[in-house]
């Protein structure tokens, strides 16, 4: 008696390769036949074959029927039904989106009229690569291999079958060797294709019924399944064509030996591999040492090859046209930041990319310098700068960026957008990985802050009128106790691997803490009873984000080890303001004196009880507030990874005593505007100086005015004074279009006002070889004084200095003294004495 199960496809991108493979995994464990019928198209598929499932072309909300018949049909239908209800909806893949190539390509000034050839593409992995073009790719049966006329068909079938088994085993071995990650996933996906029932049947049938040779049978299978995939409307499926080609190419090699691997490439020097398409295995066989860039005409943005390239960090462009014209071994530059492949590079192009490399390398060196240093104030007081993360993948990036710990791991991401909660093993694995990445540094893991605006379908929580004041975080734990226990248990076990601290969100009363601590203690006791390792001294803390907590801190201090101020929610609850409402957004201002007094009360209470206290809200990531937060007396500030190096650099310029005075003065302000003015005055006195020795280059090198301006802007980028060098360069050129800033006597003063600059700056470049500038006196320039002012600044001290400098350069004696001074420090001192900068 066949059993069936109806459902409608829950996947917005349809049943593509990954969900098909997951379904096949379940179906193949039963002996019963499993047929999947797409009632929209009438196509039915063997659910034990990925290729067959995919061929049924099941799209979002298609009505489907799963029919099971055979000995174990009852167990099969139960398992498959559960899979479709609970697991299938989670097999979704986000389609990355990339900006379409519209409009004219705006080349940097240095590359305009450079004489090189530029081919545009869509950048899917950023970066710049230089090397020789190497052509590759595709699947084809080598000439000379017979395709037809097999006499002994059973022998040929055996040969095919053996090769296929060998290939499946090989994929298995390679997948285990690859460990976890994308390479493993690709190999596992290929193994599923290789062991696909339909695939094998198709190969063997071609030999038996049409006397095709193994090569002929493989070519037929490749053509047939390529057609199935490439005909799909689903982009995810179309991109699986490469996987089919890959498996077929590997199989061909297994049957006929290595002589068929005609197109496999050996790279011997820095290479940019160019292909119509490249299969994932072809990619994996390329020598990473020499693979510098990848250019694909066909591959889409979600193909396995592109995903691999991203994980290996190989700069990649896709959708590049006219690659046929590219000569093998030709010199090329792949600029995925700009989205171009540059061929026939001229001396100008080479110089430009040498400058680009210097720009990126020097910036990295400066950041590493700050990122790698301990975060301390100028007078040597440490304030830990940690990272906020939401996924374990971010941990590595955070530590590379200089994080001194993880100040907040928001675990709710693990629970969102899925059909059921992650189990203990899955959670433990993730927490373990973060602790591993931390390598001895402290990791604060916050238990799930779900409910409210972060709804979970499997909790069935009704919508609320006021989700921020509603049923969320610690408030839902008692009702969903097993969910909380599972997380706590995973955390307790993870504590065996390194210094893990557990943090409870949204705490507003003492009872909530006591309840959570009871559960944690019970799970620790269970682990102890089961002889599972854990850290008995694991610290427990709470978020301070509900104002009531601030007024119960004495009692809280008796229960917990540490606190972290969640400034976003704390401010929103304290000021009773929905920060998403633009009409009242000005009230959502952390500079409100009342809010600063609240922070002061919290920190003082924590200190009085010798409790560690950090802050993990957005307020911490803004350099502007850093003097206040340092003055407040926090032990730690936790921010997103990209902000870390900048904060460390800023902190190194501050004096803790000054910051304390500033904070004390802010507490006495009456309004947020007064605090803001106080802060601006403080920043003007303590921010980056207008001119500094690192902004002076004595033996600068540029062949053209374009290069000279780029040199100046690159210096500003390297030292963190601008994050948008291209925009800043354009602003300077816009001014240059009025008339040349070369005013004669070998001097030029390019300048602009721009929102692309963070700190008002003067750059002085003295050139070894004079640079053409179409100056007023038609002479080249030896000295460039670049002046950039923030868009918003007008009547400031800096502007006064700039205008004094402009007046001074009209005097010959002043120019002479600049020309004669060859030491950056002394040149800065000279300018300070003359114009006060």
């Amino acid at each position: 008696m066949p059993l069936d199960f109806s459902f409608s496809c829950p996947l917005p991108n349809g049943v593509h390769a990954r969900p098909a493979s997951a379904l096949e995994e379940v179906a193949r464990t039963f002996t019963a036949d499993v047929v999947l019928l797409n009632q929209r198209t009438g196509r039915s598929a063997n659910a034990k074959s990925i290729l067959s499932i995919v061929g049924a072309d099941i799209r979002f909300s298609d009505p489907c029927l799963l029919k099971v018949s055979g000995l174990d049909e009852e167990r099969a239908i139960a398992a498959l039904g559960a899979f479709i209800r609970n697991t299938l909806p989670r097999q979704e893949t986000e389609l990355p989106t990339f900006a379409a190539l519209v409009g004219e390509l705006q080349l940097p000034r240095c590359l305009e009229n450079s004489g090189a050839t530029f081919r545009r593409g869509t950048a899917v992995v950023p970066g710049i690569a230089q090397g020789l073009i190497v052509r590759a790719g595709g699947f084809n049966v080598p000439d000379g291999l017979p395709m037809d006329g097999v006499a002994d068909t059973p022998a040929e079938q055996r040969r095919m079958s053996d090769a296929l088994d060998e290939l499946i085993a090989w994929y298995g071995r390679r997948a285990s060797a690859a460990g976890k990650g994308i390479e493993n996933e690709v190999l596992v996906a290929h193994r599923s294709l290789a062991r696909d029932e339909e695939f094998r049947a198709c190969l063997l049938d071609a030999i038996a019924s049409r006397q095709r040779t193994a090569a002929g049978a493989i070519a037929d299978a490749e053509a047939r399944f390529t057609k199935v995939f490439s005909g799909s409307e689903n982009v995810l499926l179309r991109e699986r064509v490469l996987d089919i080609q890959d498996v077929c190419a590997q199989l061909l090699q297994r049957v006929y030996g290595n002589e068929t691997a005609t197109r496999s490439l050996t790279l011997t020097e820095d290479s940019i591999v160019v292909a119509d398409s490249l299969t994932p295995c072809q990619f994996l066989f390329l020598d990473c040492r020499f693979l510098k860039g990848l250019v694909l005409a066909q591959a889409g943005t979600t193909s396995h090859t592109v995903i691999l390239a991203r994980s290996f960090g190989v700069p990649t462009l896709v959708g590049v046209q006219n690659i046929e014209g590219l000569a093998d071994k030709a010199e090329a530059v792949l600029d995925a930041d700009l989205g171009v492949l540059v061929t026939h590079p001229t001396a100008t192009v080479r110089r430009y990319y040498t400058m680009e490399r210097q720009r990126l390398d020097r910036r990295q060196a400066v950041l590493r310098n700050f990122g790698g240093k301990a975060a301390t104030t100028r007078d040597g007081h440490a304030i830990e700068i940690a990272a906020n993360i939401a996924t374990f993948e971010e941990a590595d990036r955070a530590f590379t960026a200089g994080a001194e710990g993880i100040g907040l791991f928001r675990t709710e991401m693990l629970f969102l957008d899925r059909a059921s909660a992650p189990d203990e093993a899955e959670q433990h694995e993730i927490y373990h990985r973060v602790i591993e990445a931390a390598d001895g540094r402290a990791v604060i893991i916050r238990t799930m802050d779900v409910g409210g605006d972060k709804a979970l379908s499997y909790l069935n929580l009704p919508a609320e009128n006021n989700p921020f004041l509603g049923y969320r975080a610690v408030r839902i734990y008692p009702k969903f106790e097993s969910l909380f226990r599972t997380q706590v248990r995973a955390l307790v076990r993870a504590s065996a691997h390194g210094p893990l601290r557990i943090m409870i969100p949204m705490v507003s009363t003492l009872e909530e803490i006591r309840w959570a601590k009871k559960i944690i203690a019970e799970e620790q006791a269970r682990c102890a009873a089961e002889s599972k390792a854990f850290d008995k001294k694991m610290q427990i803390g709470t978020m301070i984000e509900v104002p009531s907590a601030a007024f119960a801190l004495e009692e809280f201090c008796r229960e917990v080890d540490f606190f972290s101020i969640g400034s976003n929610d704390l401010l929103q609850y304290f000021m009773a303001v929905d920060r998403a409402d633009s009409r009242i957004a000005p009230l959502y201002n952390p500079l409100q004196p009342a809010f600063l007094r609240l922070l002061k009360q919290i920190v003082d209470a924590a200190w009085a009880n010798k409790k560690w206290i950090g802050l993990c809200g957005e307020m911490g990531g803004q350099k502007r507030y850093l003097p206040l937060l340092a003055g407040l007396g926090l032990d730690e500030i936790s921010v997103s990874a990209p902000a870390i190096a900048g904060l460390k650099a800023e902190l190194s310029r501050l004096d803790l005593g000054d910051c304390r005075q500033l904070f004390a003065a802010a507490l006495n302000c009456a309004t947020a505007d007064e605090v803001s003015a106080l802060l601006s005055k403080f920043s003007a006195q303590h921010s980056l100086p207008l001119l500094a020795p690192e902004m002076v280059v004595i033996n600068a090198d540029a062949a053209t005015k374009e290069e000279a301006i780029k040199r100046g802007v690159d210096l500003l980028y390297i030292h963190g004074r601008t994050e948008q060098p291209r925009a800043l360069e354009e602003a300077i050129w816009k001014r240059e279009a009025n008339y040349s800033t070369g005013f004669g006597h070998g001097f030029a003063i390019p300048h602009c006002k721009s929102s692309a600059i963070n700190a008002n700056s003067i750059v002085i470049l003295k050139f070894a070889e004079p640079v053409p500038w179409n100056s007023l006196d038609d002479k080249p320039v030896r000295v460039v004084i670049l002046m950039v002012i923030r868009e918003s600044d007008s009547a400031t001290e800096h502007m006064k200095i700039i205008s004094a400098l402009a007046r001074q350069v009209t005097h010959e004696s002043f120019r002479d003294s600049i020309e004669q001074e060859q030491n950056p420090e002394r040149l800065c001192a000279l300018l300070k004495s003359k114009i006060g900068c």
């Binding site: 002046m787 007008s794 700039i802």
Partner: protein, 97 residues
Amino acid sequence: MKIVAVTACPTGIAHTYMAAEQLEKTARKLGHSIKVETQGAMGIENKLTESEINGAAVAIMAVDIAIEEPERFDHIRKIKVPVQAAMKNPEAIFAQI
């Protein structure tokens, strides 16, 4: 001779002030007395009063943009030149007086 002048360039960062300095330098050299008002990024500085304008023989307007309060100069002879001219060859401007 008593001269007044206004300088104003597009960004108001550099050339406004360079031109002012050039005009002042050249006037001194030629034995004239001059007061130069700058209209730059810091707004109007060294502002010319009504009596200063009325007492001058000529106003040199070294400006590339529309200036603030132009009506103050309605009743005085003006020599209007691009800012660049004041940079490149200020003596040629004074020759026109």
